[in-house]
């Protein structure tokens, strides 16, 4: 049609925010609360949504996705909880060390890749560690709307169980917490067997836990559509490599502590993205030629696509080898 052509920018719309509170929850996890810098209310969001926080780390832009964990009905605040990753590329460390009340940042509009299935008669939540965050918003929402839910939350230890006490206290009959250091674990098989028809299962936590829930539900005959998962993927550091971008006609270097997507952005290439965590599919890029090995880490491409080397998700995946040419 082209009534009024506009160039589409990569990523979601943005909001300027000011840090309104920083609350350390335990040795590893800190909660950051935002208020809108223009004083307006935030847009409503659906529970399970994340936002991408833009950080200026010494002149270098870092874009990290975090689940919104505040009550979706409270439009004065958005909150995220961030686990410090001492071995990662530094985004979470930067937040923990350098960000304090009054600082101004930019975040994106909410994007939801882990929504509730609103047909669910009951919602069974399985959280591992920092995977608790999207469930905080889901619980607040279901409490308001009168939906049925139950949470099983597994943490390393009592000291590291973010929000565990608070949740247990508020909803004693709906929340069960398990501590690894006390050798407690979710009795998944029993739990699944006891669920009413029309229950939906949601799991958010480490990869092993997600795989476990998927294989257990599958072997118990649960329909795939009733099992939902979200894994927090952060790009991992790796050996530097070189890429030829043929549409942009340039050779770029991907450094040890940046992702391929970040390296493209640093070079001024407007590459598409949404989640930056290997889940949404927006940044999918065709490989023209390669000599070497792909380190695929996304959830988007299937096993065949991972094997045949024709596509890569530059937000989380890397490459080791002699040469890589991309259609970007």
């Amino acid at each position: 049609m082209s009534a009024a052509p506009q160039k589409v920018r990569a990523g979601a719309e943005k909001i300027d925010v000011t840090i309104s509170a920083v609350t350390p929850l335990n040795e590893l996890v800190t909660r950051f609360e935002f208020a809108r810098s223009d004083g307006e209310p935030f847009p409503p969001f659906s529970p399970g949504a994340h936002t991408i926080v833009e950080l200026n780390d010494g002149g270098r832009t870092r874009l990290n996705p975090y689940s919104l964990m505040s009550d979706p009905s409270d439009l004065s605040t958005y909150a995220i909880s961030v686990r410090r990753d001492d071995h990662g590329r530094g985004g979470s460390l930067f937040l923990h060390r350098n960000v304090s009340v009054g600082d101004e940042l930019t975040i994106t509009y909410p994007v939801n890749l882990f929504p509730l299935d609103l047909r669910g008669k009951k919602h069974l939540f399985l959280a591992g560690g920092i995977g608790i965050t999207p469930f905080m918003a889901m619980i607040a929402h279901l409490e308001r709307m009168g939906g049925a839910w139950e949470l099983h939350y597994s943490c390393r230890s009592r000291a590291l169980g973010s929000y565990a006490d608070e949740l247990k206290k508020r909803y004693p009959s709906k929340v069960q917490v398990y501590f690894d250091d006390q050798a407690q674990s979710i009795a998944l098989e029993n739990l699944l067997n006891g669920q009413p028809l029309g229950t939906h299962v949601y799991v958010c936590g480490p990869k092993g836990m997600i795989d476990w829930v998927h294989s257990m539900t599958a072997s118990h005959g649960w329909p795939e559509e009733n099992v939902h998962s979200e894994e927090f993927l952060a790009p991992q550091p790796g050996k530097p490599f070189e890429v030829w971008l043929c549409k942009s006609d340039m050779l770029i270097q991907v450094g040890e502590n940046e992702s391929l997507l970040e390296a493209m952005e640093r070079s001024g290439v407007d590459a598409p993205f949404l989640c930056r965590g290997g889940a949404c599919g927006q940044c999918e890029t065709n490989v023209i030629e390669s000599e070497g090995e792909f380190l695929h880490r996304d959830h988007w491409l299937d096993d065949d696509e991972h094997a045949n080397g024709k596509k890569i998700m530059p937000c989380v995946s890397r490459f080791v080898g002699k040469s890589l040419i991309l259609d970007r």
Partner: protein
């Protein structure tokens, strides 16, 4: 600008008419002299002042009469509006989106006063002034989607998004081009598009779905679709085909200019914030051939498009039988001169008809 609302009908005596203002701002859908299906989506972030693309939900001179026509359709057939139980939250999202957009974009016509969950909604053209509790259905005369779409032009499909798929789980559909909500309710994107020719083979629906699944809050999109309608009928539904289908045979070389209408749908896509559902408003604009050809560029181009349209599309759109008569009429407005690119009338640069 204040809008003068027409008093007009879309049935019976068909007093529907477009003012000069409405003709000039008509969303002419052809940006070149030929047409084929494509993934023709763009962002919906305003457009030229006064155009139908400017506001989130365009309000024009037909507003009050269209809403009256909708009420008549619903009185006869309540199944034109349906919402599966899990879609109520999306209905509230839609109510909020429309109320906020209308009151911000047309403050002289609509007002929204919010005090916590107590909302007061004032719709001056329809003489409505209601106070209700947001998210409490018992405080409105209808469900939230039905309440607000009885006050908003165009059809509304509300799609649930699950398992990387869109599902037609709610809607208000009374101004449709020959499809039925009651038939399509609960279907997925590929199922309800099954009757469309050629586009599946071209891979259009696969790419379109991928685009729609990724539409984000705050970043709506739009596209145009079009068909042909004899008489200015809003309700061309399969349910009432026995009433309007036969009218296609009443076309004569004498009455075609007045009776034959180009029907254009401005389709927009918005992500709904609380439910993560997608809403798909389909806003229908009608223009009589005799009004359309007053814009020389549009007369030239419509003739060429209709002449060269593949038979499959003319059949699907239901005008293959009348095409020869249409071409006889339209050819009088095509002098063979080149047309300027784009959809706009370009009255200053396009020459008068040289015939």
């Amino acid at each position: 600008m204040t809008i003068q609302f027409n008093k007009e009908s879309f049935r019976g005596d068909y007093t529907f008419h477009n003012s000069d203002w409405a003709i000039q701002r008509f969303p002419f859908p052809f940006h070149e002299d030929s047409y084929m299906y494509s993934v023709n989506m763009e962002q919906h972030r305003g457009g030229p002042e006064g155009s139908v693309y400017e506001k989130r939900f365009d309000v024009d001179e037909h507003y009050v009469s269209e809403m009256h026509d909708r009420a008549l359709v619903l009185a006869e057939d309540p199944l034109r509006c349906q919402s599966l139980p899990h879609m109520t939250l999306a209905g509230w999202d839609l109510l909020e989106l429309i109320m906020v957009a209308k009151s911000e974009d047309y403050p002289e016509l609509f007002e929204l006063h919010r005090n916590g969950d107590t909302w007061r909604w004032v719709n001056k053209p329809m003489e409505i002034d209601d106070t209700f509790t947001f998210l409490d259905e018992t405080t409105l005369p209808y469900g939230p989607m039905e309440y607000i779409t009885r006050q908003a032009q165009g059809d509304w499909c509300v799609l649930d998004q699950r398992d990387d798929m869109l599902w037609m789980d709610a809607g208000m559909v009374t101004t449709q081009a020959d499809w039925s909500l009651d038939f399509d309710i609960g279907m997925n994107f590929f199922e309800w598009h099954a009757p469309v020719p050629l586009a599946h083979e071209m891979g259009i629906f696969k790419r379109a779905l991928k685009f729609l699944l990724n539409i984000q809050q705050g970043a709506p999109a739009r596209r145009l679709n079009w068909t042909m309608t004899v008489n200015p009928l809003l309700d061309t539904s399969p349910e009432n085909y026995h009433k309007w289908g036969v009218q296609k045979t009443t076309l004569t070389p004498k009455n075609i200019g007045a009776k034959q209408h180009l029907r254009v749908e401005l389709q927009t896509f918005f992500r709904l914030p609380r439910s993560n559902a997608l809403v798909f408003p389909i806003r229908c604009y009608l223009i009589a051939f005799q009004d359309l050809v007053t814009i020389p560029k549009w007369g030239r181009r419509l003739h060429r498009v209709i002449r060269d349209l593949p038979d499959e599309l003319a059949t699907y759109k239901g005008f293959i039988a009348n095409r020869p008569m249409m071409l006889d009429y339209l050819s009088r407005y095509d002098d063979g001169l080149a047309t300027s690119p784009g959809v706009w009338p370009d009255l200053e640069i396009e020459p008068e008809l040289q015939k």
